[in-house]
Symmetry: C2
Subunit: 135 residues, 2 copies
DNA sequence: ATAAACCCTGGAGTACAGTCTAAGGTCAAT
DNA sequence: ATTGACCTTAGACTGTACTCCAGGGTTTAT
């Protein structure tokens, strides 16, 4: 079992952030010791890793909460309900994926158009790179 | 040339958002008419599309500003400088790409583990899906 | 045994990204 | 010529996601 500072270090977040996430129902330590210290399990490590990952790709804490809530509500919901919810999220993820690929392509076009030398970069612009793409 | 409401409708943002972006140096209409109305060009349409796309994949307005500023500062900077900056951004984009693929995989594992029927979804959890992955 | 390093709660403060309101000017249609 | 839909600014307000602080208790190392 990890204390809050240990999990915080592991996940590269602050203690305050973990307590903030707890207040908003994203992650609750399974136990507390006699002094009231939070004690986090292995599962909590996975959980915070999922949260950080989802956050990084643009899910809000609210959306992440919904995703994680699937775990809590699983017994009350049918497979059908969950499949529908998850498939809706997958389609959002696919949109994000397409968008990030578009951005990457723009940046790569820009980078490769750039000779990398010392001359002024008169023709290096994101917008030019974007407009050269057939999207 | 488009008026603010027209560009707003095109980009699915509010007029206020466009003015807010302007205040923060992201997009400035090339012209104003006699009454002081903002008039946006074709380039501005591309620009707002880039902004929305970058935002969607998790860039902050500040980061987007930096990306777009390449255009403005191009003459003062060498190709070398710009290439370095852009390549750094590409590596951030690659991280985001990897992360969103991880999320997508979790969701897909979850979805396909789900029979889709009417029974309670006892084994449908994001965390189970995550822990089944070899990452 | 005592200081440093950790933990607790509650609440205030901050940065970012809008969003809304007030008070007024402009434009197009009836 | 006047109504309604648009535009202007400045500034107040909101929601999200932290971040910090005060005032206290606990644990660990010397």
């Amino acid at each position: 079992m990890l204390k809050i500072g240990e999990l915080a270090a592991l996940a590269s977040v602050s203690r305050d952030t973990l307590r903030f996430y707890e207040k908003h129902g994203l992650i609750t330590p399974g136990e507390r010791n006699d002094a009231g210290y939070r004690l986090y399990s292995e599962t909590d490590v996975h959980r915070i890793s999922f949260i950080m990952g989802a956050k990084e790709v643009g899910f809000t804490l609210n959306e992440i909460h919904q995703l994680l809530e699937l775990e809590v509500t699983k017994d009350e919901k049918s497979c059908h309900d969950i499949k529908q919810f998850v498939d809706a999220k997958i389609s959002i993820v696919n949109q994000r994926l397409a968008e990030i690929k578009r951005i990457k392509k723009s940046l790569q076009t820009l980078s490769s158009a750039c000779c990398g030398g010392d001359e002024p970069a008169t023709h290096c612009t994101i917008l030019e790179a974007l407009s050269e793409q057939t999207n």
